[in-house]
């Protein structure tokens, strides 16, 4: 079902500082920040040779990323995203196995324009897991 690790998402309390840290201290290639108002986040991608780190910061008031920062003021890893080639089949298999797909259980269009779903961390070793159809 799962293929590549598409990205690891890290919530940053200061997106510019986190971007500079990855670019200047760790020497990685970073993107410009992109605002995604419909998802309530600003994102910066750190491009590694085999995958990406997605730096996230809240855009606007409230939302899950702001709540994460309230609980974790220094920031932290928010989720991992695995690729899948058929998200509907993945959702059916996961639900048949008793896994909780967040929201109404159906895949949605995610922050990068592709169908995604999120799985309950309590079902996945304390880890928020995103699946993205590629």
């Amino acid at each position: 079902m799962i293929g590549k690790l598409n990205h690891v998402a890290i919530v940053a309390p200061d997106l510019a500082a986190a971007t500079a840290l990855y670019r200047d201290t760790l020497g990685a290639a970073v993107s410009e920040p992109v605002d995604l108002p419909e998802h309530g986040v600003t994102t910066v991608f750190v491009e590694l040779p085999n995958t990406k780190i997605e730096l996230l910061h809240p855009l606007g008031e409230g939302g899950p990323i702001a709540k994460f920062l309230e609980k974790n003021p220094a920031g932290g890893i928010h989720h991992v995203c695995y690729e899948t080639d058929d998200i509907k089949a993945a959702a059916e298999k996961l639900k048949a196995d008793g896994m909780r797909v967040l929201g109404d259980g159906e895949p949605k269009i995610g922050a990068h324009g592709k169908p995604v779903l999120f799985l309950h961390p309590k079902d996945f070793v304390g880890t928020l897991v995103e699946l993205e159809q590629v």
Copy 2:
């Protein structure tokens, strides 16, 4: 300085259950468990096409992984590991930039027989970062 994401480490309260979850529900290739008594962990690798997930469980009494499970009984993401080609140069650059290398500041031989160092989560967006020389 950093290259590929070598692995994401996830601490599992029940290693057999986490292995079965990744193998049977997520359909990924998983290794046999390997005990690393000198590091106080048992590990299982989930082999993805572009990187690895390292499932960790405490081996023996005490140690940092057991403490992590006390704080996070459901488990969770413990660290990310980035590859580097010169760990001594990386350590010098990081310290010159004011970053805290855990322990005595010098690279050590890690769980997989290669030189590693760990960076303080407070300096890295709330994320425990391992660098491994490959």
